[in-house]
């Protein structure tokens, strides 16, 4: 509270605290006094209990090493689970604890979930690609689990959605996490292109990926950052009362003006390059597709979401990819809304 500077915390963390809440920072426990204009004022806290500061922005994708060891752990379990799910069960599974005593306490803790996964679908394993398909009120879902990290999954999902929508104009909603991704569409998915390997082919990867990110809203999203660094977005600085309102326009508007009147603009090219490098992890996508090519695919219809599918289904941060013409897209959406979808 005496005005000395302690360091930076992430806004998403501090924004959730109320004045009076305490948190650990710089090795001490602090109490939040007020948070205004991007500055958090704190004093030494008397309380011992405190939240631990978190930085979520630097979320790193799952490394391939970690993915491999996850597969190893899953494989250690899969033998047991497969036996448990195929054998006739006399009583409730949990009471028997067929997985108890195997592996670490963590593995022990998630054993019921793993078993549910095996019962409703299959466990993802290294040599086979698991794809689950489900229908809900939201539409038709496919869940794919390549275990390649969220960045590569975003690229893979965009690529798949683009290749699916190339033949037949459609709009897909995409969710990703470190284990897999989900495509959600209005029409049922045909398993054939998934199982034949056609969709997951590493051929024409770069041009298809480029076209996919153009169809998705990724570049427009990334353009906000590019425009800010280029000085196009005039933001209020901490402590500044009024920003230059006359100059305010959204990054989306700038993106559209550039795309229409100056499509070769270097800021657009920069945003596109950053999407490819930083958000999609293009080299890992290629490696992943090459590893997947020739692998057998398990295309499993599921009735209810599996433990692996559930977090993807409820993920609210979603991407969208559309190859429909605007007029047709609006017409379809309105018809859908009238039906009460």
């Amino acid at each position: 509270m005496n005005g000395s500077r302690l360091g930076s915390v992430e806004e998403s963390f501090i924004g959730r605290l109320k004045p009076g809440d305490s948190f650990v920072f710089a090795g001490r426990v602090w109490e939040l006094v007020r948070f205004r204009d991007m500055e958090a004022w704190v004093r030494r806290a008397k309380s011992e209990r405190a939240a631990v500061s978190r930085w979520a922005g630097s979320r790193m994708p799952l490394s391939s090493e970690l993915a491999q060891s996850m597969f190893e752990q899953l494989e250690r379990l899969s033998g047991v689970s497969a036996a448990a799910s195929s054998a006739p069960r006399p009583g409730p599974v949990n009471s028997e604890r067929p997985l108890a005593g195997r592996g670490s306490p963590e593995l022990h803790a998630i054993a019921p979930l793993i078993e549910l996964q095996a019962r409703r679908s299959r466990l993802p394993v290294r040599a086979r690609l698991l794809i689950e398909q489900m229908t809900s009120r939201e539409g038709h879902h496919v869940f794919v689990y390549p275990f390649a990290g969220r960045a590569a999954h975003l690229g893979l999902a965009s690529l798949l959605a683009f290749r699916l929508a190339r033949g037949k104009p459609a709009t897909y909603s995409i969710a990703v996490n470190d284990y897999g991704f989900e495509l959600l569409g209005a029409e049922p998915f045909d398993p054939a292109p998934f199982t034949s390997g056609e969709l997951l082919s590493p051929n024409d990867l770069e041009p298809d990926l480029m076209a996919a990110i153009n169809a998705a809203e990724l570049i427009k999203r990334r353009f906000r950052e590019t425009a800010r660094i280029a000085g196009l977005l005039v933001q209020g600085r901490p402590g500044e009362r009024r920003s230059a309102r006359a100059l305010q326009a959204s990054a989306g508007l700038f993106h559209d003006v550039f795309a229409r009147h100056d499509p070769d603009n270097r800021l657009l090219a920069q945003a596109r390059a950053e999407v490819l490098e930083r958000e999609l992890d293009a080299p890992r996508i290629r490696a992943c597709l090459e590893a997947l090519s020739g692998q057998p695919v398990d295309f499993v219809p599921i009735e209810r979401p599996t433990p692996f599918a559930f977090p993807l289904m409820v993920e609210r941060l979603r991407e969208r990819l559309s190859t429909e013409a605007l007029g047709e897209r609006i017409a379809r959406m309105l018809a859908q809304a009238e039906r009460g979808a």
Partner: protein, 230 residues
């Protein structure tokens, strides 16, 4: 799309304009000419071309509908910097292509910043409020003391959602006592509106204007309104 209201009929055009059939008047709002130029003058390097594009679109609309009069519902120029010879020249060149057309401008907040237009632009300053038949024309739909008002100012947009898909589009916003029309300018942002009560929203598919109120409500509100006894 024809809209039948208590004060008469209006035709909503997919180019984000309104045709008033009784007087054969064309209504547009929020052109913000010279906005790009004004941004460039202040050091933001945005590409040129939006003023020319806006005037081109307006010319196409005039050729198509051949109205007797054009009413601009405010914000013709973006600001004083946009009152630049390059913009004014374009504006008067466009104006001279339609010598028989009567062009009136309702004063908007940006027009006040831009100052009075030179005579050569041939745009009649119509003050802040004007009656056109049963309609009141204004820049913003303001107080309820007026008759049914047609206005602009907020650049209304709406988010429509259906199933997996969602979109934000400029919209016509029909309220109890007013119709707010979308911005006509090529370089304009938008302000999100959420229709409540009996309000309705209409969006352009490019070729036609359609009622998007159901899709704008979202699935929860739709379900609730389906259960409501009507």
């Amino acid at each position: 799309m024809r809209l039948a209201l208590a004060s008469g009929e209006l035709e909503l055009l997919p180019e984000h304009a309104v045709l008033e059939p009784a007087t054969r008047s064309l209504l547009v709002a929020d052109l913000h000419l010279g906005k790009g130029l004004s941004f460039r003058a202040q050091g933001l390097n945005v590409p040129a071309g939006s003023t020319a594009l806006t005037l081109e679109r307006l010319a196409r609309l005039l050729d198509q509908h051949q109205p007797a009069a054009l009413f601009i519902l405010g914000d013709l120029l973006h600001d004083a910097r946009a009152r630049h010879p390059a913009v004014l020249e374009r504006l008067s060149a466009w104006r001279h292509a339609y010598p028989d057309l009567e062009v009136s401008l309702l004063t908007g907040n940006h027009d006040r910043k831009a100052g009075v237009l030179p005579e050569s632009c041939g745009v009649r300053a119509a003050g802040t409020e004007l009656s056109l038949g049963a309609w009141t024309l204004r820049h913003d739909d303001g107080d309820e003391a007026y008759g049914f008002t047609i206005a602009g100012h907020v650049h209304p947009t709406v988010r429509i959602a259906a199933g997996v898909d969602a979109l934000v589009r400029p919209c016509f916003w029909l309220r109890e006592r007013s119709l707010v029309i979308p911005a006509f300018g090529a370089m304009t942002g938008g302000w999100r509106v959420r229709p409540t009560g009996a309000e309705r929203v209409f969006i352009s598919t490019g070729r036609a204007v359609v009622d998007a109120t159901q899709a704008a409500l979202g699935p929860l509100a739709r379900r609730a309104s389906a259960h409501r006894p009507s």
